[in-house]
Structures are given as structure tokens and as C-alpha cells.
Symmetry: C2
Amino acid sequence: MTLLPDWLLTYQRRDLGDDALAGTITAILLIPQALAYALLAGLPPEVGLYASVIPPILYALTGSSRTLAVGPVAVAAVMVAAALGGFAEGDPARALAGGLWLALLSGLFLLLFAFLRLGWLSHFVSHPVLNGFSTGATITIIGTQVPALVGIRLGNQESFLDLLQELLPRLASINGLVLGCGLLTMTLLLLARNQLPGWLQVLGLSRKQAALSARMMPLLLVVGAILLSASLQGEAQMPVVGSIPQGLPAPSLDFLFVPGWQGLVGSALLIALIGYVESLSVARLLALRRRQRIDPDRELLALGVTNIGSAAFGGMPVAGGFARSMVNFDAGARTQLAAIITAGWVALAAFAFTGALAPLPKVVLAAIVVVAVTQLIDLRGIVSTWRYDRGDGLAQLATVLGVLALGIEPGLLLGIGLALAITLRRTSNPHIAVVGRVPGTEHYRNILRHHVVTWPELLLVRVDENLYFANVPQVESRLLALVADHPQAKQLVLILSGVAAIDASGLELLESLEQSLQEAGMQLHLAEVKGPVMDKLQGTHFMRALGADHVHLSTELAVQRLSPTC
Amino acid sequence: MTLLPDWLLTYQRRDLGDDALAGTITAILLIPQALAYALLAGLPPEVGLYASVIPPILYALTGSSRTLAVGPVAVAAVMVAAALGGFAEGDPARALAGGLWLALLSGLFLLLFAFLRLGWLSHFVSHPVLNGFSTGATITIIGTQVPALVGIRLGNQESFLDLLQELLPRLASINGLVLGCGLLTMTLLLLARNQLPGWLQVLGLSRKQAALSARMMPLLLVVGAILLSASLQGEAQMPVVGSIPQGLPAPSLDFLFVPGWQGLVGSALLIALIGYVESLSVARLLALRRRQRIDPDRELLALGVTNIGSAAFGGMPVAGGFARSMVNFDAGARTQLAAIITAGWVALAAFAFTGALAPLPKVVLAAIVVVAVTQLIDLRGIVSTWRYDRGDGLAQLATVLGVLALGIEPGLLLGIGLALAITLRRTSNPHIAVVGRVPGTEHYRNILRHHVVTWPELLLVRVDENLYFANVPQVESRLLALVADHPQAKQLVLILSGVAAIDASGLELLESLEQSLQEAGMQLHLAEVKGPVMDKLQGTHFMRALGADHVHLSTELAVQRLSPTC
């Protein structure tokens, strides 16, 4: 790892135009989203802007992805909201300090994982669980925007279910004007995303021009809403963003002195995990398209540094966002210079336009959030996962329902735990096959699935799982039952082609099996023992009792040696 | 399952003598142990007697082991003590009610496991963890007996470490007389166990007579100690057992009304798990010797009923004890009638001799506990586990140290958690081998370990682990690295002989691998796909993209088809 990033050392001048355009397009998308996600997290809107300036620059200098757009993201924002619900107790100053602590702590966790080489821990958030979590979180996010969209005020809720219970009885007090504005904004945004590029092409713009122009729509809507709202001068009685401090804050560590930050450690760990897994999968997806490489360890480091920087400069937890990175990539970004240009635009906005943002109705931001996150719901993925693997499907469904009924964090933990439990359950009851020789080959397969040759005095059994503590009792009783069912068998050949590890309990199983067979007048043989397994068995009591001549390189060699009629 | 147990329906008269003798011998061992283990659990001594009458009879009628001796056991007793430490708050009536609740709840958990077929959950207490737990618990038990052995009084401690900290500064106030009695009793018990049978054989007794006579020693010691203590009439100032109510209690559910029993649920679950695992392993060991069968599901049911019965009749949690079952077996027990005869003797003792027990010095019972539990420490097993498998060794060591430093329950949970984490860590970084053909065979092995034939245009790779969410990122990056290292390869054959399951994340891996290879001008092939894996892959998008002609029954067939120079 050099001190300066690869892309900067090898920068090609001809990429500058592409990067500048992509950076600008992304900034147009980012500025309203940054404000909206900060509000979603329960923080002042400017925190979203602060998280969109220094963090992307830090990532650009340290990360291994050339096109990942790092900043505030919807899922992390709703996790922050969930964590702050109990912490802030309605005090905005406490909420702000808590938000910065969450960014700092999740950054520290990522650095810790990088230094202790614990990146593999993130693998335990499986794709189905992540998918279920995104879907559940997205539905929750949409739920949290409903009060702003219909113009009523609600307190903090633990989960989507709680929200529904509070919301439904109060639907009568809807503010029609707010609802109308919200619906109008959402309709315009959806039209801009789905139809507008086509219409513009009909009007004669090129495909690329049309796509770029359509992307201006959210910004135009914001500007239009501000102008309209300002001209009404508060007569419409809509909640507005209000005054935002001008400029970027100086780095500050004042938030460190808030009491009770220890209660945020668990939430920060989850935010770090989810942020890392999301960022990595987006980065991988983009890298694959241009045959670039992503270094998972370097990503841990980069996202750690980025989040700590976000905390120091008054920002919220950040990650690589899916939709924003896609826009950046599709707009032609070649390197992280695009991200630095985006950050420049956001900084400019923070200095120049914050005064103008005050009359912006919150309902417009709520509509932007809702339209942005609907892309994260992947129902087709949920259905196809359920069809392919019932265990994964169950974990996924439990995550969705858990997030909705129990809340963001309990739902995620439920999903991770269930996915693990299902995997363990599966390996604790392994597939065991009696095999025979496929005629004309030296290949041995399940006697129940293939036409094979067998020998009555030879019992060939293949165990399709590592022998470890959780399945040893099962394997032992099923092997003994197989022996009892084959009274003519004189030799039991255990084929270990599917066994990559034998732990101490597995070794005990082999020892007791060898003894039981001997007492029953049978002999135990092993075949196709993998190298690493053999290395460990070598020198054990069991191996001395078994004898080296009872270990065969292949099933075929065992059969040739043991079967008189072969 | 019939209503009456097999052994009773098929009872042979000639077994009666053996059963009667074994039942009597076991009773002689059991009566002092029952008193001692109740005190160890922090309960009145008679609770141990109550747990030794009805529960063994219930087990005899429901269990599948013919020789398992069920009753109070040392490890469960120390777990009860740990659970009651925080619950009883020094109130003996609360302690008693809590002990009965623990028996009831652990019985209910076992029944629940039986009905929901969750017996496999118990497999997650691996042998090394169980071994480490027994060793740690035994050291803790010996520690708890030290105050009684040296004649000082201490409060409740969380762990062995806490006990040491309290004990060491007070060693100056040792009661020399008590210590002397304790050492004398322990010496006599150890002599009786190890040397006496030999001496008696020298005196002309048969081997069996000598062994049986030596087993009378604990009872003789108790009687001798009672006589001596009674004759001194309290002048020696030693703590004694004190008055014990006569007879057995009528069944009662009064204990159900103690407030706060909910706090015992977690402890009861652990007691149920450990009791079940211990009982099952002892029962299996004994059954193996006489070629009998143990039904794990029936054992769940039997131990559940037995513990609920123990609670209803005023007893503590029970399990099958290792030492006691061995004595029962070695003394010649043929069926569970021996256990019923043991129960009869204990009932007789409860009616006839409880008055006589009052002057028994507690130090004698403490000495009996210490000598009994030293058999449970298995240092050799710990060392050999460490040598064979570092992961198991680590989990075992952590369990021992966790029990000693953190306490009984946290130590056990730490061990179970660590064993799982180590297993997951292992499967998350699987063994992947490039293979070639062993000359003169159709067998394919690792090119790094064997002299094999390879073909430059064919890359044969064997993955030795199920493809599941925790290892998919690793496997993907290592496969792509292998492809990059073999620029001449045109075909990648993935040999799935070691893959027994592919979850949804694994399927995604295969899909993206297929695409990446295609874009790189290579083709993906699968070989030796196991039946259950093929069943699931059939009909997926991936399988249609791959094509059935890219799936080969064996590696040899794939090579014959794909290699031009073969």
C-alpha cells in the first residue's frame, strides 16, 4: 500500500472530463439525499451535508474501489435513528452527539477488524439475511416518512409495527395540502426516473443526454419547492427545513463528553458490519464490470478511516451507497476524482446555499427518501431464494418480519442467528450414502441413485460432512445401524472424500467405531482421506490401532485389495 | 414404546440375585453422597435423599438404559448452587423452593426437547467442552468443600477465583481438629478405593469379595464418625449435619408460589443440557459393553419425567452419574430392578436412620465429595485433545479457565460459544486443492502432495467444504486467483466431491463464476456433484446457463471429454 492512491499516481488527463461530469451529476443527486437521510436518522439536516464532504475525500485517498460513492445512506440512517431512539431521550443535542459517536465507534470497529484480520466476521451476514434486512429496513424507512408525507407528528417508535399502531388511529388528522405536495413530488420523481429519459429521447436528445437531464429532476424539484414555499411566506403552514448554519464546521471532539455513549457500542458494531457488507458488495459489483480488483482488508481500513473522519467533522456514519454509486458509475466516473468533485460541490452548497434551504418543505425531502429507497426492495430475490433453499428463505423471511415487528437491530440479529442455526442444524445431520462401483469405471456412487456393482462382504460408506462434535452422535448411530443392516459385511470402508476436517469428537467416533467393529468381528478401513485430515490423524492412538494398511488412497484401491470376487 | 419397560416384561428370575446385590452396593455408595451433594447444592441434606427415591424409580420405568444409576450428581449440584447463589439471598426456604423449581424447569425443558425433536441441540456441547466443564466444575466443587474441610465459614462466591480470594487471607483461622478429621477421612477413602481391595485379596478374599468389601468403607466411615461424634456430645465443636426430618415428604407443589422463579429459567436450561449429555454418554458407554441400545429421544423423555418427579417429591435436579453407574454395573446389575432396590434402601434409610444422622460431622461429607469428584478430572484427555486439535483444545482450555474465573454458567457458555466460533472460522476458510490424475488410476489428488498427471488447458480444482454464506467470498476470490495463475487453462472443472450442500449464497457464487469465466473466454464444468446437491441445482437459472453437458459424473469422465491429449 503506497501513501497516495493508485488512481492518483497513474491519473490520465483524458479521464478528467468524465470524472468532472460524473462528480457533478452525483452531487445533484446527493445534496437533497444528504439532507433527507440526516432527517431520517433523527439528526439536523446539515449533518448529512457534513458527512458528504470530508468522508468521500478520505475514502478517495484510502479505498480500493475507483467508483464507489461514499456518504450518508438510507439503511445506515435508519439504524442510527433506531440506536438514537433510546439514547437521545428527545434532546436534540444528545441526538447529535450520539450520531457522531456512532460514526466514531463504527469507524473504530472497522479499523479493529482490519488490524485483527476479522473481516471474515462480516461473512456471517449472509446475502439472504442482508437482502431481508434491506427490505425490512426499507419498509420501515417508508413508514417513518409517512407522518411527514401526511402532515402529522409522531414520537419515536421501536418498529414498523409500533408505528402502524400509532399512525392508523390518527389518519383522520391528515393535512391534505401536505399529502398532495408529497404525492405530487413522488409522482414527478418516479416519472423523472422511469419515463422522462424516453420522452427526452423522443424530443431529439441522445440517450446519454436524456439520462443526464432526467437526473436533474430532484434538484429542480427542490428549487421549485423552495421558490414556491418562499413565495407563500409560511401561509401554507407546512413544516419546513428551517435555518441551517452556513459553511462547514471546524473539526471538533466536543461530542466525546456526552454521558452514556457506552450504550451505543452494540449499535455501532451492527452499523459497521452492515455498512461494510453493503459497501463491499457494491464495490465488487462495479469492479467486476471494469475488471478491477477490490481488496476487502483495504476496504475495512478505508471505511474505518472515513467514518472516524466523518465523526471528527460533524458527520453521521457513512457507507458506499448502491443507487448513488450506480449513478456515479453510469455517469462515466473513471476514478475517485469524481467523488472529490462531488464533495467540492457539496461544500460549495454548504457555504453558498444553506440560507436558501430554510423554506424547503420537509414533505419534499420525505418524498425523495421514499422514491430513493423503493429501489432497495428486492421481492424477486426473496422469492427465488425461498424456492432454491428453504433454510436461506426462512432466515430471509424471519429477518424481514423481525425488522418489521421487533425493530431494526433485533430483526437483524434474529436473521444472523437463524441463518447460523440453520447451517448448524444442516451439518449436524449429514448425508451418508452406501456406494458401489459405476460399471466400467473406477467411480463409486450412491447405490440408491445409480446402477452400481456391490460386494456383500464389503460395506462402502461415504459420509458427506466434516466429522465434528455436532454430528458425531448422529453419524455414529447411523453407521452402526448400517452395519447391523448388512450382516454379511466383513469390512467397512469409510470413504472420506467429503470430509475436510475431523475434530477431537470425530476422532473419538473413529476410535469407538474401530473398537465396536473389532468386537463384532469386522474391520474398519479408510479411503480417500484428504491430505490435511491425514496429517492430523498421523500419530494418533487411533491410527496406530487401525494400521497404515487399512488406509487406502482411493475407493477403487480399497476394493481391489479387499474384495475376493473383484 | 410400550407402557411397561422392556426389562420388566422380559425379566429373568436368575437376574434377581445380581440386581439385588448391585442395588444394595449402590445404595451404600449413594446414601452418603446424596446427603453430601444436597449440601453442595446449598440445600438441606434430606433433599438429596428425596432425589434418590422416586426419580430412580421413574427412570427405571421410562429410560432405555438398563444400568444407568440416576440421582443427585456432583456437577448438577454445583450448577444448582451457582444458580441459587443470586436467587436465594441467604434465605433457606427460598433456596429450597428454587432447587425444586430448577428440577421442574429442567424436566420441562427435556420434555420440550423430546416433543419438538430438539435433542440435537445437546450435540453443541462438544466432548472437549464437556470435559473442560467437568474439570472446571470439579475444581470449583473441591474449592467449595475447602471451608468445610478446614473448619471456617464463607459466604457464596461467584467463582473459584472469588473463593480463593476470600479463603486465602483466612487460612490462619483454620480449625486443626476439623482439618485433621477431613484429611483422615480422605486418606481412608482413597486407601479403600485404591489399596484395600488388594490387601483383602492378600488376606484370602476373592477378587469380587474384596472389591465389594472395599465399597463398604464410606458407609463404615460415616457410621464410625457418627458414633465418635455422638460419644463426644458436641464437645469437639465441629459443624454437624443436624436434625433431618424423618420419612419421605408427600408430593407437594407449594414451591411453585415462590416469587422470581423466572430468573432460574436460563440456569435450568443449562442444567438440563449438561445432565442430558452426561447421562447419555454414561448410558452409551455401559450399553456398548453389553451390546445394548440407547434411544436418545427416549432418554430425553425419561430424564424429563424423572426431574419433574424429583421436583414434585421434594428433590433436586437429577441425572445419570458416572461413578455411581459404574459401581452399579461392576457390581453386576442386569436391569433397572437394581435401581429400584437402591431406591428402596434409601427410602428405608430416610424412615429409619435420619435421627441417627444428626451428629455426623459435615467434614466427613465434604471429604466424601472431594474423593468422589477427583475421578471427574481428566487431565490426560485435556492434553491429548490439545495435541490433536488446537481448536478443540482452545475451547476446552477456555471452558476450564472460564468456569474457574467467571463461574459455572458463564464458563460453560463461553466454551460452547467458542467451540462454535472456531468451527465456523474453520469452514469459512476452506481447503481448496488443484488436483491431477494419479498415474495408472482414475483417481485425482492434490498436485502439491502427490505425483500426478496434469493438462495445461484443464484446471481441475477441488473445494473441500460446503459452499455457504460464510465461505463464499473466500472461495470466490481464491478460485479467481487460481484462474489468474493458470493463463493457459481453457476449462475450469470444479470437483464437488467435498461439497454436500450449496446454499443461496453458494449458488450466487457459481452464477458469478460462470459469468466471469465466460467473459474471460473460459468454460466452467462441474464434476462429482452429489445427488442431493444436484437435486437442488436442477432447474435453477445457473443450471440452464451452464448446460447439462458441463456436468460430469466423475473427474475422470470430465478429463476424458475435455482433454485432447488424454
